[in-house]
Amino acid sequence: MQKVQILSFIKNPKFILALILVIFFLKGAFLTTLSPIFTGQDEARHYSSLQYRAEPKDKNWEKIDRPVGSMKSINIADYNFSHEMIHAGEAADYNVFRHQMYNTVNFSDGYNGINEAEINHQLWKPYNYFKQPDIVSGKNLYYFLATSLEKILSGSDILVRFFSNRILSTVFGTIGIFLAYLIFKNIGIKEKESLILTAITAFQPKYAMYFASINYDVLLIPLFFLFTLGAVFSLRNGFNWKNGSLMLLAIGLGFFTKATALILILPFFGLVVYFIYSSYKKKINLKIILLAIIIFVIIAYFSNYNFISILPFKNNVSETFHSFGSYLSESLTLGRFALSSRTYWGSLGWFSNAIDQNFTNFVWTIQTISVVGIIFLLFSKKKLDFLPEKKYVVFMIGMIFALQLGIRMADWKVFMGAGELELGTPGRYFLPNLVSHIALVFIGLGALLRKENYFRNALLAGLIVMISFSMYLIFNIILPRYYL
């Protein structure tokens, strides 16, 4: 009897979901520890940005006039960061391990680094002494939250503050995983399959790596998931004030986090058009749709943001088209697609071996098969009970296209100014659509497999591959790189 009770307890969906969330959090905490200080993507600059915002209002200290240096300098002292960041970075051997891929921290024999006591004593002020601080400027919701944590922990040393902020990112990532579960469940995938898809998302290597570093994308990505959830609710229950508010909230908060969120306006209006169209068939409250549009326009107006400025335009139409042609020829290459894909899946390129080189080829093969399945599903008249309805599939494809469009427009805009691909399209930029992407890949496979049992096996196989690749990156790539 007891055995049966234990089995039914551990098979309870709530328990499994809690387990996935705990595992993701532990994995994030582990990754947080694995990467030495300031080694995340643009992490030093992001931490500098929130430290700058945490400074007292009365900046009664002398400022040094030094232009912001080259982003390629190998010495942290060349960057206009805070006094504390520069000295703590030097003490923790940042200059050694950051730019010499073959080098590590100069380790001591115990649990504390050689210069750790010096860092613990807080000998340096967390103030920026430069007239031109190396920071990301502008109002930003993520920085507001992270700066609040920085202020709360102001009595502690930089190691406590910095790594607590990384943990904050992991908390955002855990919320993202919970939202992923709600999305999978609400598009019509059954309970157990939704949990497996959630676990697959939690083990996507780049997602966890990104949520173990300080970066404003860690708020943007869950907000994209929140928008997706709102949209899924609207497709399921019809457009109402609840799901409309959820979508507008995600767009609004996203807008105050990173301009990328503006691209969500496209799927939002896409849904509005869809509901207006379908309202001729069904009774849907047009007043709510109109109200949502009015609220959106009011927010946009009062945000005082120059929306036209995000559109790429160069002098005149002819030059703009010419620039567009040059951009396409330079950016739409197989090499660049491959690079985006490799970095999206977390390949670090630190070691050369068959797994690193072939994992993305394997993923691309699966994705290609899945595309066939998606096409099959969209044009098939037979409905498979274990897969979502077509409207969810079309919406998620729309989300993928919208983000692609947004990222490439931003890339083109930077290309226009710089004359070269300065921004690029690294894989991490596409993470906001991770849930839609994972769902589409497996829905496509399910459409080809046709049977629920096979679909579940494919999901479990996908989970095993994802966990294994994630573990491989952690234990065979990142850990040896920094500690062996």
């Binding site: 073959y102 096996n457 040896p480």
Partner: protein, 219 residues
């Protein structure tokens, strides 16, 4: 789900997990950082490198060497041998086929642990044979006045007070001691809540719960 499917998926998962941890166990050795990895003078290996060095610890199991070029395609073979002090008797030997170099142009030569290596002098010989159409490998040599650096020659030419840019790495007596040392390294420059016991709980919690999750989802 069919019983057969459950067994197959479980075996695949366990197999892959064992491979990952076996690979980690194989590379779990700790480089002696008193040996500097510095990009000094770059020299092509045309014949052979001879490096005599004294081991500081027991458990010599790996030598990390910094090479001077990343493009060695289409590859070649490193002939790596460790001899006794007189460069007479071979103690360990590796033939390593490569098509490219690892992170930061390094390559690790991993061999079975030499348990009683402490204070012994070893003679390392390294040569490289590139494939047809390939390039020769370059190494870096540095000034090195450490007493542990006993002799160095490259392509038949002795270089006094210089050494190969390399690091010997050692294992402890057992896996437990290795994991303690690894934990110590990971704990450095981290706050209290990510150090030592807390770190152990995080790592083991993550591994055990992940395995439990897969098991629950499969059964």
């Amino acid at each position: 789900m069919l019983y057969k499917d459950k067994i197959i998926l479980s075996v695949i998962f366990l197999g892959l997990s064992i491979l990952i941890f076996f690979r980690l166990e194989k590379t779990l050795s700790f480089p002696d950082q008193s040996w500097s990895l510095i990009e000094g003078e770059k020299i092509k290996i045309t014949s052979e490198i001879v490096q005599k060095f004294e081991a500081d610890h027991n458990g010599l199991t790996r030598i990390k060497i910094l090479f001077g070029n990343s493009d060695v395609s289409p590859g070649g073979t490193f002939d790596f041998k460790i001899y006794d002090e007189n460069c007479q008797d071979i103690i360990r030997e590796i033939n390593l086929d490569i098509t490219s170099l690892d992170s930061g142009n390094t390559t690790d030569f991993v061999f079975p642990k030499i348990s009683d290596s402490k204070n012994k002098i070893f003679c390392l010989k390294l040569s490289y044979e590139q494939k047809k159409g390939g390039k020769k490998a370059n190494v870096f040599i540095n000034e090195n006045r450490m007493v542990q650096n006993k002799f160095f020659s490259i392509n038949g030419e002795e270089k006094a007070s210089q050494s190969l840019s390399m690091r010997p790495a050692y294992r402890n007596e057992n896996l437990w001691q290795d994991s303690v040392e690894l934990n110590q390294r990971m704990s450095q420059y981290k706050p209290l809540f990510l150090k030592h016991y807390f770190l152990s709980i995080i790592i083991f919690g993550f591994i055990i719960l992940s395995i439990l999750l897969v098991a629950i989802l499969i059964i």
